[in-house]
């Protein structure tokens, strides 16, 4: 079920009312959330519910066993069972065909024809997200950072919680499970803020991202015949599209969770206002970056290592794995590699933590230096996005090559997309003004009165109705 679909417009209010009015006890609320989460996931393809349940069962049992033993060898074995089960699912469903194809190509290069068949399987939606979420639980229990839950219902509900099930934020057990085990009371302010965040998320997804997608798809499909302006605009629109799509999804997810009395972690913190790449990675897909930091980068030694070579290695690993997590394609690996290259100068010179605060706090505009830094960082990010969006690495290089050699600057692509450019300008303007807040529609009551806020909400909702594409489109991150 898509957040931007007719079904979800029925599903959400019905579930909301039943949850607060009928299932008032904690246990029943959890059972109800589990049931509707499975319904939400099964709406797409009920067969893949088995994988979700399998992953939940394995980690629930493994964690319980971990709490019953102190023998290191036995505990390690239990952890390995969880790792193999979850990463095994990913390996089969997401990476098997990629490795088989690459092996066959590699061996044919040295004259050996391997006869290995690929699997005809589709990628289960959200598999990369919920496997990472359950893994974090088992690893934290293994590290004795958290205690395992004894009741299976809150745990299963945590793994399958529908607002964030298919595309995150990837929640930590220590943050989310306690919210399932404590009684929840309806909080007006929390619910109201949730609705505002949902509205802003829908605007980013439906009005901005989906309309950018039309131009982006056409540009990447016909890049060989296009000029500098069109290709530049295509790359710029894709940067906006992927931000609108993914941060829009996260806003809807976080907002929905707030309607049910849950607080999910922040996933985006206005990343395109970053002054360097390190800041960008503290603001983009925060739940994944921190996952890799805590479960991969730090165990590798992080930045507290003896040699610079080891530091380069650790940074390279984390970015390449992060790229590969997105999909079984060299384009994602190159995207990750590029970001590693961008990131390394800062960390090697010890300047990667220069910008921990929000840019130009208390001011309307950034300084010229801040502005230049923001633009340069954005350009680097856009270049990397070209690899992320292209079908192949070769296509990405061709695209870049044409972008800087097909010197033609027709105004037609700009004129044709004036309404979209206006929409993007509004997006940037609102997010700039709200950059110290949790999301774009978190208004301060003393700065904007109630009728003013009401008019903004109504105009936004009407714009969503009027500018939504005819068929709801899938969120980009569903494929990862």
């Amino acid at each position: 079920m898509l957040f931007n679909s007719f079904e979800y417009a029925i599903f959400l209010p019905v579930v909301f009312l039943l949850y607060w009015l009928v299932f008032t006890e904690l246990k029943w609320q959890n059972i109800f959330l589990l049931a509707v989460s499975y319904l939400f996931y099964g709406w797409w393809d009920y067969r893949f519910l088995s994988l979700l349940i399998f992953s939940s069962v394995v980690d629930f049992l493994v964690a319980r066993q971990l709490s019953r033993t102190e023998i290191p060898k036995y505990r390690k074995r239990l952890l390995i069972i969880s790792l193999i089960s979850n990463l095994g699912l990913l390996a089969v469903f997401k990476y098997y065909n990629f490795f088989v194809t690459e092996f066959v190509i590699a061996f044919s290069g040295i004259g050996i024809d391997l006869n290995m068949g690929t699997l005809k399987i589709i990628l289960p939606v959200g598999i990369s997200f919920y496997t990472f979420q359950t893994l974090s639980y088992t690893i934290d229990v293994f590290r004795k950072k958290i205690k395992p839950v004894n009741d299976w219902i809150p745990f299963f509900a945590y793994v399958s919680f529908f607002p964030q099930l298919v595309a995150g934020p990837i929640e930590r057990a220590s943050q989310l499970i306690p919210q399932f085990t404590k009684s929840r009371k309806f909080d007006y302010e929390q619910a109201r803020d949730g609705m505002q965040q949902i509205l802003w998320g829908l605007f980013k997804k439906v009005v901005i991202a989906d309309n950018c997608a039309v131009f982006v798809n056409a540009t990447f499909a016909n890049y060989a015949e296009l000029d500098t302006i069109s290709l530049g605009l295509g790359a710029f629109f894709f940067a906006i599209q992927i931000y609108g799509d993914f941060s829009g999804y996260s806003d809807i997810a976080i907002g929905t969770a707030r309607l049910f009395g849950f607080n999910l972690m922040r996933n985006f913190a206005f990343p395109y206002f970053s002054r360097d790449i390190a800041e960008f990675w503290r603001r983009w897909h925060i739940s994944l970056s921190t996952w890799f930091r805590d479960y991969l980068y730090i165990p590798l030694g992080g930045s507290r290592v003896d040699s610079k070579a080891r530091l380069v290695f650790n940074v390279a690993v984390i970015f390449l794995v992060s790229g590969f997590w997105h999909g079984a394609n060299w384009t994602y690996i190159v995207w990750g590699g590029l970001h590693a290259l961008y990131f390394l100068p800062g960390i090697l010179s010890g300047k990667n933590r220069r910008h921990l605060n929000t840019v130009a706090v208390g001011k309307y505009l950034p300084t010229i230096k801040e502005f230049i830094n923001i633009v340069i960082t954005f350009i680097f990010v856009v270049i990397a996005w070209i690899f992320f969006r292209a079908e192949t690495v070769g296509q990405a290089f061709d695209y870049l090559h044409r972008m800087v050699t097909s010197f033609d600057f027709p105004v037609r692509p700009l004129q044709k997309n004036m309404i979209l450019i206006l929409g993007i300008t509004i997006l940037i303007f609102v997010e700039w003004l709200q950059r110290t807040k949790e999301h774009g529609f978190q208004f301060e009551k003393n700065k904007l009165n109630k009728p003013g806020r009401g008019i903004i909400y109504l105009i936004t909702a009407l714009t969503i109705l009027l500018l939504a594409p005819k068929n709801p489109s899938v969120f980009i991150y569903f494929q990862f």
């Binding site: 007719f6 607060w20 009015l21 309806f186 007006y188 619910a191 109201r192 609705m195 309404i419 009401g454 909400y457 109504l458 909702a461 009407l462 109705l465 009027l466 500018l467 939504a468 005819k470």
Partner: protein, 331 residues
């Protein structure tokens, strides 16, 4: 919780009212702007139909190939049925739409014959809300209209059509904004409404464009994309005609030969229709297979898909001759 639910309801109501106002304003692009310039053919067709007093003997159904190719005046003259021929083709008219158009006609009329133009493209898509709405929206209240609404639209579409005009007419936002800004806002004219449902276009497409800028260069439709429900409704049309004692004829209007040759599997589409027609004992002529000699790609098409005004005259005379012969032979 009550204040929250109350607030959500108030906002929902205000949004719904806003949607109602804006949607109905956008609708005037269809009912006023396009109608006043004679460019909104579905409404013109239904309006003329409800005003006419003369009975209809011969009815045409089908897609744009139907309403741009079969000239009722020419056909009426040859068959000596002047003013008794009506073309009820409409853009991308699928068999489902044709069926309910026929049902609506049968509420007041008893045509002797129905000519159904078969265009494979409309068999590959059940999904075009706009084209269904064009007919539903301009039908008068009747049992056929109610049945069309019940059968022809999903629950989601029914909700949208009933309560969300802003969603229904949102395509008109851009031309309406252009109009408000004093910019050109009308669509490029796609022909002239000639009455009795027929639309003719006097333009002629150059051979170069036919050869090198042809939509069928990228043609990738397969016969397995033709949906079951479209064949179901074609069968319903056949049964309805049998039941009402109406003679049914299948035809396929000609496309430029260059375009047909670009469609690698045209023969397979033809095969499906001809086998079906043989099975149901319905006469079928595909004028892309049995080509009319006088029609040339150079002079008789206004785009890579449709006949122009002079092409339609030649074709209509040929169809009328065929219907005449068919009638004589069946007697």
């Amino acid at each position: 919780m009550r204040p929250f639910i109350f607030q959500v309801m108030v906002y929902s109501l205000l949004l719904w009212l806003l949607n109602w106002g804006v949607g109905n304003y956008l609708r005037t692009y269809e009912t006023k702007d396009l109608m006043e310039t004679g460019q909104f053919f579905p409404a013109l067709r239904w309006q003329e139909y409800y005003q006419r007093k003369v009975p209809i003997d011969l009815l045409m159904l089908g897609s744009s190939h139907a309403y741009r190719s079969y000239d009722p005046k020419v056909i009426g003259q040859v068959l000596a049925k002047e003013d008794r021929v009506y073309n009820f083709g409409s853009s991308a008219q699928s068999p489902l739409i044709s069926y309910y158009v026929l049902k609506e006609i049968l509420e007041k009329q008893r045509p002797e014959q129905v000519v159904m133009d078969l265009y494979y493209m409309v068999f590959t898509n059940d999904n075009q809300l706009r084209n269904r709405r064009y007919n539903l929206g301009y039908m008068q209240a009747s049992a056929a209209k109610t049945a069309f609404f019940q059968d022809g639209f999903s629950t989601e579409e029914k909700v949208i059509l009933t309560a969300f005009p802003a969603l229904v007419y949102k395509d008109y936002l851009k031309p309406k904004v252009n109009k408000l800004l004093g910019r050109p806002h009308l669509l490029k004219k796609q022909g002239n409404y000639q009455g009795a449902g027929f639309v003719s276009n006097p333009d002629t497409l150059s051979i170069e464009k036919l050869k090198y800028q042809n939509q069928f260069d990228y043609f990738e439709r397969e016969t397995n994309e033709m949906t079951e429900s479209n064949f179901e409704y074609l069968k319903k049309i056949k049964l309805l005609c049998d039941q009402e004692n109406i003679s049914l004829v299948f035809t396929s209007a000609p496309m430029p030969e260059i375009s047909v040759n670009k469609i690698k599997n045209y023969q397979a589409f033809y095969q499906i229709f001809s086998e079906l027609a043989a099975k149901w004992k319905v006469p079928y002529v595909d004028y892309n297979i049995q080509r009319i000699e006088n029609l040339s790609d150079k002079d008789h098409y206004y785009d890579d898909d449709h006949l122009n005004a002079s092409g339609a005259r030649i074709f209509s005379a040929a169809v009328a001759d065929y219907l005449l012969k068919d009638k004589r032979s069946s007697k």
